[in-house]
Amino acid sequence: MRRYDPIIAGLLILTVLYGCTAEADKQTTAATSATTSVTTTTVMTTTTTTKATTTTKVTTTLPNTIFEPVKPVREGALEECIANAEKYAQNLYAECARSAVDQVKDNSLFEKANDYYKAGKYQKALDTYYEFLKLYPAHIGALNNKGLALLQLEKNESALTNYLILYNLYPKYYQSFINLQIAAHACGYSAADLMEQCDEFINHLVDASAADEPGADVIIAAFAYNLAYEAMETDGSREDLMELIETAKMLYIYSPLYFKETGEYPKEADIPGIAGLLELLSEMFPEDEDVAKLTEYYAALTEVKKKS
């Protein structure tokens, strides 16, 4: 079985410090849209809780291409983003080391950016996160949320670079790994593709879980959920992704959360793959609508695949 080795970093020569080009993001956006239309969308309805706005987009879907494997939207994008992030993080790290760790004295811009984000004004949110990061360049919350704004604006490669920078700066901040998962997925890569670069995230997630650190179980659940999401888009065809699924299951069933729920450690789950993970998540979160939806979705896709 594959083993995930630590980072071997720093040999790449860079011409751009941070952020992939706007052109690259355009390519990502276009190709991601194509992927989306293949994998999911027939009708997309968007609503907000604050405004009664509905937009509808219709595309066509061929059932036998539902399990189209996720492929890199742009060849070499991951390597490029990794290199950019490492270089940028090193510069930022040196800068922060000189000025000591930031002590945030004024949080108002961050709050403003978050308000924009929650209102769905992603470009304004992004601009404001940038403004705040000029003052506090290593602010973990701003870096994290900036990545979400970039994703909402479909600047996927920039978002990927952003979360890789975050990883380089704070390799033990495992919380942001689930956002890195999303960014990578949007660029056509899976969590498994990231593991050789980012295995410290998992290491610290395990440690946090073992120490019953507040919130770790929620991150594990989200991590497992996202893995199931990714894996079903490849129909379990990615061996390394399926290994991660097994890892997630182990993480999950040995987490304090499970113990709290059941009062005992369970036997190792014997149901394989995506369905098993979804079943496990359903047991743990019987009221989680997302898990129910994803399970229903997976069952429907599987049914369609059988027929095709």
Binding site: Y4, T46, A97, D102, Y170, N179, D288, K293, A300, V304
Partner: protein, 148 residues
Amino acid sequence: MFHDRIDLSVSSDDTLPKPEVKIILNGNSLYKPGMKAYFVENDSESASINTAHKKNTVGGVYCSCNKVEVGNAHVECSCDAVCTCHAVATCSCNAHVSTTKQTVCSCNPYNSCPANCSCNAYTATTTKGGGGGIWVPCTGPCSCVPVH
């Protein structure tokens, strides 16, 4: 413009917009939920994972250590360092005990081993790890040794 992979349906204050992707399969309509995302709230000491109904708020305080190694891209904490909470960074020790506003880092043995390691001492009722690509908690202090 919404990204269909992020389902920011519910945050701790119920104000995040919710994209919903509807899929029609065999004439039946289904919702495809998005991937779960992590959002840091204003005070930087709380964050939310968006789920449909459960308000899972990630609490806690993230600390940055008072010692760093320059020249390495990673922030490393030295043994027995006392970390002051800034609410902007993570504690980089392998174990820590949180109090309200201060986190004391220690270099206690790991409670789990990465995939390429195995516990060489443990007080576990569960499996010891190693070599299988799976991260296994040892249920107690253990030291990790490489597995070849």
